[in-house]
């Protein structure tokens, strides 16, 4: 069964450094998403992406964040200058179309020290 994959599974970085989290969505899916889950808190929407542009974003998704689909398979989330409060589990998801169920990857745990 096709699944969403994410790399790395765990990333440790120093405050102020740039990080790129990578995702490979399910191949025939058209919508891609990033969510994050701070330890002990709920899963929060960050951004959705369709047709090579941001479709919707939350107030969390400020100028420090960017997303890109650099090729036909990868979908990335970049955090330009990480802060301690960016430490969280970041989930990538994809769906075949808008308003369809979203399938989530296993997550990347980002630790900012």
């Amino acid at each position: 069964e096709p699944e969403v994959t994410q790399t790395p599974s765990h990333q440790v970085t120093q405050m102020g450094q740039e990080v790129i989290l990578r995702c490979v969505p399910i191949s025939n899916h058209l919508y891609f998403y990033w969510y994050r889950q701070i330890l002990g808190q709920k899963v929060e929407f960050l951004v959705s992406f369709y047709n090579n542009e941001i479709s919707e974003k939350s107030e969390i998704f400020d100028d420090q964040f960017s997303v890109e689909r650099p090729d036909g398979s990868n979908f990335t989330l970049k955090i330009r200058s990480t802060k301690l409060e960016d430490s969280a589990m970041y989930f990538c998801a994809s769906s075949v179309d808008r308003n369809y169920e979203q399938y989530f990857g296993p997550g990347t745990r980002l630790t900012v020290t």
Binding site: Y31, Y33, E56, F91, S95, N99, E101, Y103
Partner: protein
């Protein structure tokens, strides 16, 4: 704004007993409703979904949920739990016209022998 409430933070159930996890949502129109399960260290797995039609929906692993519009509820049920059902369960709501899912805070399920 849409919101989801999962009033039970932690539930303990004996193996073989029945289970009901509560979920209430707040949204003006007809929502799309989902239940996801997260095992320790794992991603979010879709258990079931409701978009329209029959208000009782069946999912994977023997789970079902019933959409009750009058109560703004979408409770998850299983007639007989197995030790492998121990996990965190998240209810989520989406709506037609935008892509983001709004998650509840989750219910942690513990199974005792």
């Amino acid at each position: 704004a849409q919101s989801v409430t999962q009033p039970d933070i932690h539930i303990t159930v004996s193996e073989g007993a029945s289970l009901e996890l509560r979920c209430n949502y707040s949204y003006g129109a007809t929502p799309y409703l989902f239940w996801y399960v997260q095992s320790p260290g794992q991603g979010l797995q879709l258990l079931l979904k409701y978009f329209s039609g029959d208000t009782l929906v069946q999912g994977i692993k023997g789970f079902e949920a019933e959409f009750k519009r009058s109560q703004s509820a979408f409770n998850l049920r299983k007639p007989s739990v197995h030790w492998s059902d121990a996990a965190e369960y998240f209810c989520a709501v989406g709506n037609f016209g935008n892509e983001k899912l709004t998650f509840g805070t989750g219910t942690r399920l513990t199974i005792i022998p």
